[in-house]
């Protein structure tokens, strides 16, 4: 093999790693029945690829080659350990018997096991923190340090969460499978919430200096695409649409210096048309199924905003209508608040303010900064300056997010004292 061909083979290993490593890992976990064993096997398989592909050429079916190489490396490792631990020898023999049957397989013959991996990482018997950490580590291939940085946690904490989660999967025997049709709706719900939490953490950044942690949003969208490809459920489609439509506004929602820009003040020429078009097509697809849920409805609301060339052109009547449906499907005080803001745009600030006050009187969102800043905004528009100032100050005392804090301070100085 020439030097050029060897270089090309090395580049190929990298390309295959980026494109296929999670699929290979997912299959190795199924075949070896253990996360750690599979990760070691994956590592060994790619190490073997780096060693052999430049001299032997890239195999015809790289994925199948990696799976079977990883599996044999794992059996080897178990055999070596069997010298010290007899039970490992038994496991190795069992896997070896399985492995012989399916030698020399084509890529297409290996099932895509990533759904099993996603459902296992998002099993409800794991804590939400562990679900997120494990999904980002195993499905998205983020390092522990990257996850820690994204969630403003210490790396050892994340590492410990992952270790504990894997131990629970192993010891409590959480099965490596896609749930049965009966179990699927609630289990899928958990998965979608994990994906959406990851997206939101990247998009809203609940605390800290940076408004958008793009990497996390990007990972969530990638995850959404994998789910959409493997599990064509309307809510999966709806969630992917929602994330794309939000992401499309990313450049417009903060100034170069990181200042927050509200939807009605955004420069709409900065919106990503490609993502909007894709998101809108997905929303229509999900709505047409007539089996849609809250994610699809939120995406539909986002799509109506995207339709308006100027903020003044927004079809607020349709947005209020969509919030009405959303409130029936998935009632929550936050949805009520958003509906109230839409009503304020359709019927005037007084109508919206009455609704927000009703929510706050119930005490549901008393500590939610956005409820107070929405209230402040309506008071400001009604000329009730003192009320507006008090509400902005309340919001300011509750917010944990730096750009939001600066935004509120700006508003406060605008209305004067």
């Amino acid at each position: 093999m020439t030097e050029d061909a060897a270089d090309a083979a090395r580049a190929m290993v990298e390309t295959v790693y980026r494109a296929e490593s999670r699929r290979v890992l997912a299959t190795l976990i199924r075949l070896l029945g253990d996360f750690d064993r599979a990760e070691e096997a994956l590592h060994d398989a790619f190490a073997a690829a780096v060693e052999h592909w430049p001299s032997d050429g890239v195999p015809k079916n790289p994925r199948a080659w990696l799976v079977s190489t990883g599996r044999f490396k794992a059996i080897d490792a178990m055999r070596r350990r069997a010298r010290f631990d007899a039970s490992q020898g038994e496991v190795a023999r069992r896997f070896e018997a399985d492995a012989r049957v399916s030698d020399d397989i084509a890529d297409e013959d290996i099932p895509d096991d990533r759904l099993r991996l996603i459902f296992t990482c998002c099993h409800p018997a794991l804590t939400p923190d562990a679900q997120i950490a494990l999904t980002l580590r195993e499905v998205c291939d983020l390092t522990t340090e990257e996850i820690a940085r994204a969630f403003l946690t210490a790396a050892p904490t994340v590492a410990q969460r992952i270790v504990r989660a894997k131990a629970k999967i192993r010891d409590a025997v959480i099965p490596y499978q896609v749930p049965s049709a009966d179990d699927l709706p609630p289990r899928l719900d958990t998965v979608l919430h994990v994906v959406y939490l990851v997206f939101n953490e990247g998009y809203w950044a609940s605390s800290g200096a940076s408004l958008v942690r793009t990497d996390l949003s990007g990972e969530a969208i990638r995850l959404g695409r994998v789910l959409h490809e493997l599990l064509p459920d309307p809510e999966v489609t709806g969630l992917l649409a929602l994330m794309l439509l939000h992401e499309a506004r990313r450049l417009a929602r903060a100034t170069a210096t990181g200042e927050l820009v509200l939807l009605d003040e955004q420069d709409r020429s900065l919106w990503n048309r490609e993502q909007i078009a894709e998101g809108q097509a997905l929303v229509e697809q999900a709505l047409a199924s007539r089996r849609f849920g809250p994610f699809t409805l939120q995406a539909a609301i986002s799509a109506v905003h995207a339709d308006a060339a100027r903020a003044a052109d927004t079809d607020w009547a349709q947005i209020v209508g969509l919030y009405d449906v959303l409130l029936r499907v998935d009632p929550s005080p936050v949805v009520e608040l958003n509906r109230a803001a839409a009503v304020a745009m359709r019927d005037g600030p007084a109508a919206g303010l009455a609704l927000i006050d009703a929510i706050l009187v119930r005490g549901d969102l008393a500590d939610y900064p956005l409820a107070h800043s929405a209230r402040a905004d309506l008071c400001r528009r009604l000329g009730r300056t003192a009320d507006a100032r008090a509400a902005y100050q309340r919001a300011l005392s509750l917010t944990r997010q730096e750009p939001e804090r600066r935004f509120l301070e700006r508003r406060l100085s605008e209305i004067g004292s």
Partner: protein, 118 residues
């Protein structure tokens, strides 16, 4: 795999249930137990006397000390258990969700430790 399903109920709530209701509740337990016996998942199961009858034993500095009551005061008390056979955690959760107390109390599902025979 074997799993232990620990049944936690509020003894107060059970104690104040009207007789017709508690009879119906016990009836559900008999039906449930019958069901998992037939499916082969039943290994063992017992109801416990109320926590008032409990004694906690510990040895400190070589001396046995016994105290009245459970280790900690909690809203829900351990009231009974089932030891079941299940394929995996999902299977065990399926069974646990059918235990009548799952509706008013809670069920803790714990895998049974298997010690390697050396």
């Amino acid at each position: 795999m074997k799993y232990l399903c620990l049944i936690y109920d509020e003894e107060k709530k059970l104690g104040t249930m009207p007789k017709s209701e508690s009879d119906a509740f016990m009836g559900e337990y008999f039906t449930f137990t019958e069901g998992i016996r037939k499916s082969g998942q039943y290994v063992a199961g017992e109801a416990l006397q109320p926590v008032g009858t409990a004694t906690t034993v510990r040895i400190r500095n070589g001396k046995v000390s016994t105290t009245d009551g459970p280790f900690a005061e909690t809203k829900e008390q351990l009231g009974g258990f089932y030891l079941i056979n299940a394929k995996d955690l999902n299977d065990a959760i399926q069974v646990a969700s059918k235990i009548p107390s799952a509706r008013i109390g809670s069920i803790e599902v714990r895998p049974i430790m298997v010690f390697d025979q050396q």
